[in-house]
């Protein structure tokens, strides 16, 4: 079995494109709205 350090070193990392998407203000504003809407829909279903 690998050591913890080896396993951490072998862990997959996000690509540069993924990191840019996670920091993109317009895209994240869209995602912000989507998360809130999904949460509200879930709350409505459960009550």
């Amino acid at each position: 079995m690998n050591t913890a350090d080896e396993r951490i070193a072998a862990a997959p990392l996000p690509t540069a494109r993924v990191l840019r998407r996670r920091s993109s203000i317009p895209l994240q504003l869209w995602r912000f709205a989507r998360i809130n809407l999904r949460t509200l829909r879930m709350v409505r279903k459960a009550h």
């Binding site: 920091s23 994240q28 709350v43 279903k45």
Partner: protein, 157 residues
Amino acid sequence: MDWPKTYQSPLHANVFGIGIAFAPPHAISTPRTSPNGTLIAPAPPRTGMPSAVMGRQVAHSIADMIRHGATEPTHTASMAAMGAVCIASAGAGTRDGTAAAMTMYPSCRTTPGSRPRAQRERYLRRDRLAAHWVKHLLHFVFIYKAKARPGWAFLPE
């Protein structure tokens, strides 16, 4: 066995157990094993949002029992019919915050394999900024609710 709905103790009518105070009747998904042999057995999400929803419904039931003499709990909150949202925050700052958002509906299946896969919604996004903004917003919402400011009862848990 189904998930509890009223959280009333079967032995004592005036005792209720919500959140992690009740024992899950069964696993929420098939246990898996990682490549190095570690058992992966997901537990139901019984803290945070689900426990707050349970708490509210149980509080309504207790109020009905005290005020109106109800003999049985009048409100229910089964985990098989409620959702769960988790925002794991790992940083601060409007432009530098980091968080992952996870949503799950319903939180638990009635019995293993009873609900078609298409009816379950499980979602994980590592939306660094968006999830962080949601977490930040929730802080204000929960403090507002905790202070019982006008309209607090309409805010979701």
